[in-house]
Symmetry: none
Subunit: 214 residues, 4 copies
């Protein structure tokens, strides 16, 4: 009896890589189509597996979605927190840096798509929305709030409620995220470049926030 040849399998065994690949495919599809409109078959096709395989790794569509979110949220925020802590210059500069980085680093990232998705369809997944808020929104907001407190304490910003102001600062960026991730061209009526938006927004708001602008 001939020993079975150690043939290289036609497709490579990558037991461990599978889940990642599936999550990647799911992420892409969710971002592209939204949650409800994403068909698991398309996710499977995108990952190059069969529909059934998805169910070997994820209980159902909802769980898959949750995993996608969890897998893509981790690191990014932590960095920003550290940067902010070690910054030493004027608060306005810190603030604008933070907002700009937020935009540039998230927007290019899948996280941008997820944010849009959560804002859009979060209602249908209260549990998930809560999770997302706690892990992402709350931590991010706190960061901004702290900078505002710092600026007010140092007399750089006029006295405002830092929590409310945080929201005012976050809102435009989130909205830009939504606009950017909406692929209907008509919706972005007269074309406004995200960069121009961010610049105008930051300049104007910082001016409005300055303590010395009597």
């Amino acid at each position: 009896m001939p020993a079975p040849q150690e043939t290289k399998p036609r497709w490579e065994r990558r037991k461990d890589a599978r889940p990642q690949e599936l999550l990647a495919a799911a992420l892409a599809q969710f971002v592209e189509r939204g949650y409800a409109a994403t068909r698991l078959e398309d996710v499977a096709k995108r990952a190059g597996v069969s529909k059934g395989t998805l169910y070997l790794y994820f209980t159902n569509k909802e769980e898959l979605f949750k995993e996608v979110v969890r897998a893509n949220i981790v690191a990014t925020i932590g960095e920003a927190e550290q940067d902010a802590a070690s910054f030493d210059g004027p608060s306005g500069e810190l603030l604008s840096t933070l907002l700009l980085r937020w935009w540039t680093e998230i927007w290019a990232t899948p996280l941008g798509g997820i944010t849009k998705l959560m804002l859009s369809e979060g209602n249908n997944f209260p549990e998930l929305a809560q999770f997302y808020n706690e892990e992402v929104v709350a931590r991010g907001s706190l960061l901004i709030t702290e900078v505002l407190r710092r600026g007010i304490a140092r007399g750089e910003f006029r006295p405002v409620d830092p929590v409310v102001m945080t929201r005012v600062l976050i809102a435009p960026v989130l909205m830009l995220m939504m606009w950017t991730h909406s692929y209907m061209p008509t919706c972005d009526m007269p074309d406004v470049a995200p960069e121009a938006f961010m610049e105008t927004f930051i300049i104007t708001t910082l001016r409005g926030l300055r303590a010395d602008s009597t």
Copy 2:
């Protein structure tokens, strides 16, 4: 003589009131569930009629939605346009009035829910999105843009690109709309009153926009 049975009629004739009732029910359901997740049968049930009745008054789901939008918009925007045209004071005041009215009159109104809905699901229903944009967003935006032009021309505002600035002004209000209409309370993390948000936003932005803030 036996008392005549008090049989409840299978249906009641309500010819004139019907359309309004249906639109109201549809609006509520759309806002509550979103467009895609709204089943026409539920709308019907909510209005106390049968599924078929809806089709006596509206061609299909899409048309029903459009009617809902039309019935809740026309007046509102028109008024704002007229008010703006006849206003005579400083542009900053006009702008803040406009934004505040926008918020108060739309937010209290179900129209807020519709705006949220369009932002959320617009992607999946391009035709609806386009319709909404043309009828609502474009007209509203133009209003703001014109005020900005006016203020810049009169030297009240510093020179900014009025189109970009329009977006910057719109974004926070839209975002507030989204937050407000997301019924997961957790999402509104530290409770920020919409009024406080609007106030802080308007004051800050107008300060940042003023021409004389050297």
Copy 3:
């Protein structure tokens, strides 16, 4: 108190005419669309009445259809029978006259449409089909058969089974009826004028039937 004026009613009372009008409208619609595809609402609209009115006169769609057929079958056949009986010339001439008249007088008549309809959808109304056959097809066929017998007896036609031959003679006319009443132009591939069809058919068949064509 003024005596109520004897005003002429806005619409004329024509109690007796109603059923006829309804039947006429139904006939037209059935012929135009076929049985299944005819919506009672369209019949009503065509007759200028409301949908409900139809149900005052006819139990349901099926009964309406039956009445339409019954009301349009009566007279025509009788005439032909009498003409044939009193004819005195050569049988070939009689036959061709009969076939041509059949075509010209039925084709223009609603009976043509009904024939097409019966052929098409008769399966779904076995009872009706039977009735139609007995009253129309059988009597008409018998007429032809008799002429064939006459011709054979007089030595004008070669000896054929007159019953079978009757079918052979009827078939093309019926088929022409079907083609003519099919309003999809494509189905009548290269356009063949009904008159040309009838002429070619009659000439060829009579030639084939002649006794002397040795």
Copy 4:
């Protein structure tokens, strides 16, 4: 040891056989009920599968029907075309062979039912009618027309318009098809055997077509 329960599997894997089975079930149902009245659920039930399964193999009802036609036609017509091309004898013989074969090979086949169906319901499904005409009727007709041209050119047939004559030749066979597939027995009034019909029809018509029958 307990005998393993003989549970019947919810479904059986039949990958390769399935399409054929589905087509067969669909054919039967279509012929039995007609196109419009055939519910896909019944087709599925007949094939012993669920409704959804149909959609694994066929895009929709219309496509299913087209496939049924394709699966039952291609061969038949093709053969006839080849036979005709290679035939070398007198045109009358070719013609009668063609017509007879058409009858016997189609009539015995469910394809007869489909022809009946198209004649009956074609009006209501223009696209199907067109498809059927192009694929079946047009090709078949052309075959006959060519034979007629051949016969005329060779002096075997008297000069007639071959296109019109084609129709005259087709009509009786189609009509016979309709009669045969109408399952109301009454409709075939005095019992005429299809074979007798065909024989009488062919003999008579060929006699009428002969060039030498002075």
